[in-house]
């Protein structure tokens, strides 16, 4: 049983490590930011996921100390990684105006939110209100 | 254990916090709190002075942890003296600031209280990392005070001040680290116990740490070539703040005196009197450069700043002689120069406030309101600052000249002190004549329209100058007491025993 667990842990570690490396290789190898974005946001997530899983199994199975913090970290990474990617893409599009012209239309009466303001009352207003409450 | 020892730190801290919590929007309440606190602080400091006068060193083990494991406050005569000095200057400056400066920005009073807290802490602590913490408290409060009221030049000078001190703080930590690495302690008394036993192999590291720490204190004390921050800072700070800063340079001097007599003094073996060869030439150079600056200054504030540098040079060079006699002279001069510089900065502010756009610059301006009174105060402050008789500056100068007589470098002291005195006299005479006399030659220019807020500012300046008069009249007893201070300082066994001995067995 211990062997199986050890094997599992080792496999998870090796797999995780491999994905880490692959993600970073992709980041070096792929030609532009938008394609590079694909590499780390996916591979590294599983890479860390592998390590975390290995850790969970290791402590629970081999050390006998149940440790579920790793779940928390994994959840957290899964929540944040897409967001980071989303923002990086938006910021990149914003910075590189030449990319704007390559974007497909939204199919809606409005453009993409990075370039086009949302419908609604986001209008400049009088001084007093906009400066708002502070202190 | 006497709880009085913690109060000079605790009182301003609590009042500062209360001011933030409860008196943010009420100027009158804030002023009331601030003045009451500072008066009380003075009373506490005086009580501590009386307490310390019996010659016994008292320690206060925070958290009841025995030294050297916990942090210890230690009260000896020197610490008590500095506390009183801080409170006196603080009260004077506060009264002045209440004249209107405190309303020119936010949070003046809490920052002021925290400043007092930091300075008091630096005087009381017996732990050199804790000293770092109090340095940072007094520094960060001073950053806030320095840029109080804003203005381009002031804030930019503030940036310079902050950056310089941040570099200094880094070096402080590095030095503390080296000393801790070799000695394994942070307690100054414990350090004094360990330093003599440090093996030769570790001496280089220990002494490097000690010298770097000396340089850090020298930054605070504005010793050449680490003084560059001072002129810009003091000359651009709000008047009352510059006046309060007069004690901050003394914190550096105090720390040097404290640590380098206690731990690197006569008993320190290979590291004995480590500071002297660095401090003495630098001090004399500082004296010369400072007083040269007095002659070269372009404004009253700048002149006062350079005078402060010069006085720090004289003070530190005298300290560097490291004899009880020289030290007692230095201490007298320290008290004097602190109060004199404080008064001078306040007078410079009185002038600046009355000269419109020219402020205190040496540029033609019409006669100022209350010119006679302000001029008189300037005259007295200038006499004090240049060390002319009959005020305490002269006695201080004589004491120093006499006190360094035994030093191998006495001739340098005498020549430089006397020459620079002359330079300072010329500088101050030119300035005073320009600012107060020359406007009378202008064709019937109307006096400036400035209407001062009240008598409080004059009371404050007058009070500080009155302290100088008292210091002059009672120079004998004061100096006799300072000799006891020095004697206690140079017999560190009492301090060490009090710190390392009494707290044992509390837990």
């Amino acid at each position: 049983m211990t062997f199986v667990l050890e094997l599992l842990v080792s496999l998870l570690i090796v797999a995780g490590g491999s994905f880490l490396l692959i993600g970073s290789i992709g980041m070096v190898k792929l030609p532009d930011l938008l394609t590079r974005l694909h590499a780390p946001t996916k591979a590294t997530t599983l890479g860390v996921g592998g390590a975390l899983a290995a850790s969970m199994v290791f402590f629970a199975g081999l050390e006998g100390t149940l440790s579920i913090h790793e779940v928390l970290i994994t959840a957290f990474l899964f929540m944040t990684a897409p967001l980071s990617a989303h923002f990086i893409a938006k910021a990149h599009l914003h910075e590189h105006t030449e990319l704007r012209d390559g974007l497909p239309p939204t199919g809606r009466p409005y453009g993409w939110s990075t370039f086009d303001a949302a419908p609604g009352p986001s209008e400049p207003d009088d001084e007093d209100e906009r400066r708002g409450a502070h202190d | 254990m006497n709880h009085l020892l913690i109060l000079p730190i605790l009182l301003p801290a609590v009042v500062g916090a209360l001011l933030v919590l409860a008196a943010r929007h009420d100027g009158v309440l804030a002023r009331t709190f601030a003045v009451a606190s500072t008066v009380l602080l003075l009373a506490i400091a005086v009580a501590l002075l009386v307490l310390a006068s019996d010659g016994q060193v008292r320690s206060y083990a925070l958290g009841a942890w025995p030294a050297p494991f916990g942090i210890v406050l230690a009260l000896d005569r020197l610490a008590a003296l500095m506390l009183v000095l801080n409170a006196v200057l603080g009260l004077g400056v506060l009264l002045y600031a209440i004249g209107g400066w405190d309303q020119r920005g936010k949070h003046f009073h809490p920052l002021f209280q925290f400043e007092l807290m930091g300075i008091n802490g630096a005087f009381l602590t017996g732990d050199f990392f804790n000293l770092f913490v109090f340095f940072e408290i007094l520094l960060i409060a001073s950053y806030g005070l320095m840029v109080h009221g804003g203005g381009g030049l002031r804030v930019k000078a503030g940036v310079q001040y902050v950056v310089t001190n941040l570099v200094g703080s880094s070096v402080f930590l590095i030095a503390v680290g080296m000393i801790y690495n070799v000695t394994g302690t942070l307690n100054m008394a414990d350090l004094a116990r360990i330093v003599p036993q440090v093996p030769a192999a570790d001496q280089a590291l220990l002494q490097t740490g000690a010298v770097l720490l000396l340089l850090v204190f020298a930054v605070k004390a504005a010793l050449v070539p680490l003084h560059f921050w001072l002129p810009g800072t003091y000359a651009n700070a709000p008047g009352p703040v510059a006046a309060l800063f007069a004690i901050m340079t003394k914190v550096g001097a105090y720390s040097i005196l404290r640590l380098y007599v206690l731990a690197f003094g006569a008993d320190a073996g290979a590291a004995a009197w480590l500071a002297a060869p660095w401090l003495l030439p630098a001090g004399l150079l500082t004296l010369v450069l400072g007083m040269t600056g007095v002659l070269a200054a372009r404004s009253l504030g700048q002149m006062a700043s350079f005078a402060v540098i010069g006085s720090m040079g004289m003070l530190l060079a005298t300290v560097a002689v490291f004899t009880p006699q020289a030290t007692s002279a230095a201490l007298y001069y320290l008290i004097h120069s602190t109060l004199a510089a404080g008064a001078l900065f306040l007078v410079a502010d009185l002038v600046a406030e009355r000269r419109g756009a020219q402020r205190d610059r040496f540029a033609a301006a019409p006669r100022i309101a209350q010119g006679g009174l302000v001029g008189g105060l300037f005259f007295v402050a200038a006499i004090a600052m240049t060390g002319m008789p009959p005020l305490s500056g002269f006695i201080g100068k004589l004491l120093v000249l006499d006190g360094v007589r035994a030093s191998a470098h006495a001739a340098w002291f005498w020549a430089l002190i006397l020459t620079t005195s002359l330079i300072a006299i010329v500088g101050f005479a030119r300035a005073g004549s320009f600012v107060f006399w020359k406007p009378h030659a202008l064709p019937a220019a109307p006096a400036s329209a400035y209407r001062p807020d009240g008598a409080l500012s004059f009371v404050a300046v007058g009070g500080l100058l009155a302290c100088l008069v008292l210091l002059t009249v009672f120079a004998g007893p004061v100096h006799a007491w300072l000799e006891l201070v020095a004697a206690q300082l140079y017999a560190p066994a009492g301090y060490i025993d009090a710190v390392l001995g009494t707290a044992q067995g509390v837990r």
Binding site: E6, L7, V9, S10, L11, I13, V14, G16, G17, S18, L20, L21, G23, S24, I25, M27, V28, L33, R36, L37, P40, T44, T45, G47, V48, A51, L52, A54, S55, F58, F59, E63, T65, S67, H69, E70, L72, I73, F76, L77, T80, A81, L83, S84, F87, I88, K90, A91, H92, H94, E95, H96, T114 | -
Partner: protein, 89 residues
């Protein structure tokens, strides 16, 4: 066996970090560099977790958690900065 796996893991994570450094040095776009640092954080988290296994110590995980949380926030802050200039508006 786990030890060998760990060595492998350390090696790949370290190599990955060096590749990230390469991307950081090369850019070319600012966002490439942000991405490089973002990925670095991920790799460092992995390193921390692996070190935790190696040292059989659980205290590493809080650090990993905070790295995850704060790495994300600083990435977002950079992006907001590029997008709006004002990180909080």
């Amino acid at each position: 066996m786990i030890e060998y796996a760990l060595q492998f893991g350390f090696a790949t994570a370290s190599l990955a970090l060096l590749l990230n450094l390469w991307r950081l040095l090369r850019g070319p776009a600012l966002m490439d560099r942000v991405l490089a640092v973002d990925t670095m954080v991920i790799n460092i988290i992995a390193l921390i977790v692996l070190a935790g296994i190696q040292q059989r110590a659980t205290y590493f995980f809080e650090a990993a958690l905070l790295f995850a949380m704060f790495g994300f926030i600083s990435t977002v802050a950079y992006c907001r900065f590029i997008l709006r200039g004002d990180v909080i508006e």
